[in-house]
């Protein structure tokens, strides 16, 4: 029987050596960028807002990598370290980022970091059962809140204000700069809102049929559309079979020519429904599900919403 016994002390020595090597990485971070305001935003809409408002006075990074599911995100140890070194931590609210409280707790002793709940002061819609549904006699007792507030651009404007106020609080030197940028951006958002309102009148269909996760209620609400989704808010469970059937019935009833899918959920369900009904598939981006491809294309929130408008006009068959 041969067993090689590596002396324990060599092993311990190796461990200590390795830990030194790895800890050395941290100290080599002296960076001219450090002088800027360090902002970490959880998801894309906030990332983009912060970029636009902060301009070249801030360095914004997005906590969630592209193509990551925000609703079920798992914090990495590195994340907490990054955030605790930042000046601003932007998140929507506890409904969207359940895990945000962990960060706020861990970094509460850090005087430099200001966590910003950008959804503060914005009324959330509850996830309603789809109006046309006669199948549900009982309302689900736990009416979840829909956190996708940024898809109503009036909300987005309020979020811009909240972010601007936070930036000014920690960096009052540049408050004029921030205010100017914010005003410009809010105008763009208002223009977009108008454009949507105008171009979504006179459509053959007034229902958004969505084989993706429940996200567009705010948008539908704002422009007087009906919204129908097969999944729940976080798409963490299989859609109920009857919901699939209900969506199919809706499509057939309204003779809808197109249904919507989203990029980051497996499109199998959308494809299956499309095949069943002969409907076409159009993409809608909910603002936080960004693919790596889109990131490399340097999309912005506005550009994504413009793309959405094109999709909506086509799918709802607007003039």
């Amino acid at each position: 029987m041969q067993t090689s016994k590596v002396p324990l002390k060599y092993f311990i020595f190796l461990l200590i050596l390795l830990s030194f090597i790895f800890s050395c990485r941290d100290s080599r971070e002296a960076n001219p960028e450090d002088k800027k305001l360090q902002v970490i935003a959880t998801i894309f809409p906030l990332y983009d807002l912060a970029r636009q408002i902060g301009g070249d006075k801030v360095k914004v990074s997005m906590l969630l990598p592209p193509a990551t599911d925000a609703h079920n995100y798992e914090l990495k140890p590195d994340d907490i370290i990054r955030i605790s070194k930042a000046d601003l931590f932007l998140y929507i609210n506890m409904e969207m980022e359940h895990w945000a409280y962990k960060i706020i707790q861990t970094t509460s002793s850090n005087p430099r970091l200001l966590p910003v709940e950008t959804g503060n002061g914005i009324t959330m819609l509850t996830v309603s059962e789809n109006d046309e549904d006669e199948d549900h006699h009982d309302h689900h007792s736990a009416s979840r809140f829909d956190p996708h507030i940024w898809l109503d651009f009036t909300n987005t404007q309020k979020m811009a204000d909240t972010i601007t106020a936070a930036m000014i609080k920690v960096d009052s030197r540049h408050s004029d700069y921030y205010l100017k940028n914010a005003a410009e951006y809010k105008n763009k958002l208002a223009d977009l809102d108008n454009k949507y309102r105008m171009e979504l009148t006179g459509c053959k269909s007034r229902t958004i049929l969505h084989a993706g996760h429940w996200a567009f209620a705010y948008l539908a609400n704002r422009y007087g559309l009906k919204y129908y989704s097969v999944y729940n808010v976080s798409a963490d469970s299989e859609p109920e079979p009857q919901k699939i059937v209900a969506l199919i019935s809706q499509i057939r009833k309204t003779k809808a020519a197109n249904i919507y899918y989203e990029d980051l959920i497996n499109p199998r369900l959308a494809e299956t429904i499309a095949k069943e009904t002969g409907a076409g598939l159009l993409k809608l981006n909910n603002g936080h599900a960004i693919s790596k491809e889109e990131m490399s294309r340097s999309v912005s929130f506005l550009s994504l919403m413009e793309e959405n408008l094109v999709s909506l006009k086509k799918g709802l068959q607007c003039r």
């Binding site: 109920e240 079979p241 497996n266 299956t272 069943e276």
Partner: protein, 275 residues
């Protein structure tokens, strides 16, 4: 919603077809796996598939080819399980455990390296029988044919090996080749089932119908047939029930399997008492 209405949907028809094929594949292979104390191999292979898919996605392979690309890794892992089991130093269940944990851990680490849980990766864990497409039905048919040929052609040898491996060898049966083929077929079946019906279904369909059939204490040939019957019935009734009761299809199928097992078990206990 009526039964007729449910069955009128083409996606339900596809689900039934694919489901029956997968059920039959798993039921047949499962008999051999359960009798050789490899019950957890389905679960293990599913975990390894998770890791393999993570590797493949990290390598940047387009989602369309992911299944084909992940297959070799899973088949290799199944051979590794086979090798470990035959070496007699490690038992089958431990061998499965080792590779299974390696697979999941690799998947988690690689997913994190590639920037987070990719949706494609998740879809491998949670396939849905209701969204099966034409290509997957074709694949299921091919695998079904392969398994059927394997079992029919090698029936005598398979029975001997399952009964007593040493005895089989004394009869001149090439047990090593037979076993390797069994493991490879199981690996392919596992990947396919996982993609179509999700990770939970893989091990459930491989173990539960065979276990129920074994309760009947009948001949080997009839046991295999019974296993297939239980399996296909659970899929048919499971899918229908999931629509009528608005429950997830995969879970309903598995619960039905367990129900069958409990019923047969119960009947066996009560029957002698009635006499």
């Amino acid at each position: 919603m009526s039964l007729i209405e449910v069955l009128s949907f083409t996606f339900v028809q596809r689900a039934l077809l694919a489901g029956i094929l997968i059920a039959a594949i798993a039921a047949i292979l499962g008999i051999f796996l359960v009798l050789r104390r490899l019950s957890l191999i389905g679960d293990g292979l599913a975990h390894i598939t998770f890791g393999s898919v993570a590797v493949v996605l990290l390598a940047g392979i387009s989602p369309f080819y992911v299944t084909i690309s992940a297959l070799p890794l899973v088949m290799l892992a199944s051979l590794a399980i086979f090798k470990l089991t035959s070496s007699k130093k490690i038992h089958g269940d431990a061998a499965i455990g080792i590779l299974s944990s390696a697979g999941i851990a690799a998947g988690i680490v690689l997913a994190s390296l590639s920037g987070g849980y990719n949706v494609d990766l998740f879809s491998y864990l949670f396939g849905n029988i209701l969204t099966v497409n034409q290509t997957e039905i074709m694949l299921s048919l091919i695998i079904f044919a392969a398994v059927l040929c394997y079992v029919l052609f090698f029936y005598h040898d398979l029975f001997a090996v399952t009964f007593d491996e040493e005895l089989a060898r004394s009869m001149g049966i090439k047990t090593k080749k037979l076993n390797i083929l069994l493991f490879l077929l199981t690996a392919i079946a596992a990947v396919l089932t996982m993609k179509i019906a999700g990770i939970m279904m893989v091990s459930a369909m491989l173990i539960l119908p065979p276990l129920t059939a074994l309760q009947l204490s009948i001949s080997f040939r009839k046991t295999i047939i019974a296993s297939v019957i239980f399996s296909t019935l659970s899929v048919i009734f499971g899918i229908i029930a999931s629509f009528l009761l608005n429950l997830p299809a995969g879970g309903t199928i598995v619960i039905l399997n367990i129900l069958f097992l409990l019923i047969i078990f119960g009947v066996k206990k009560i029957l002698p008492a009635l006499r």
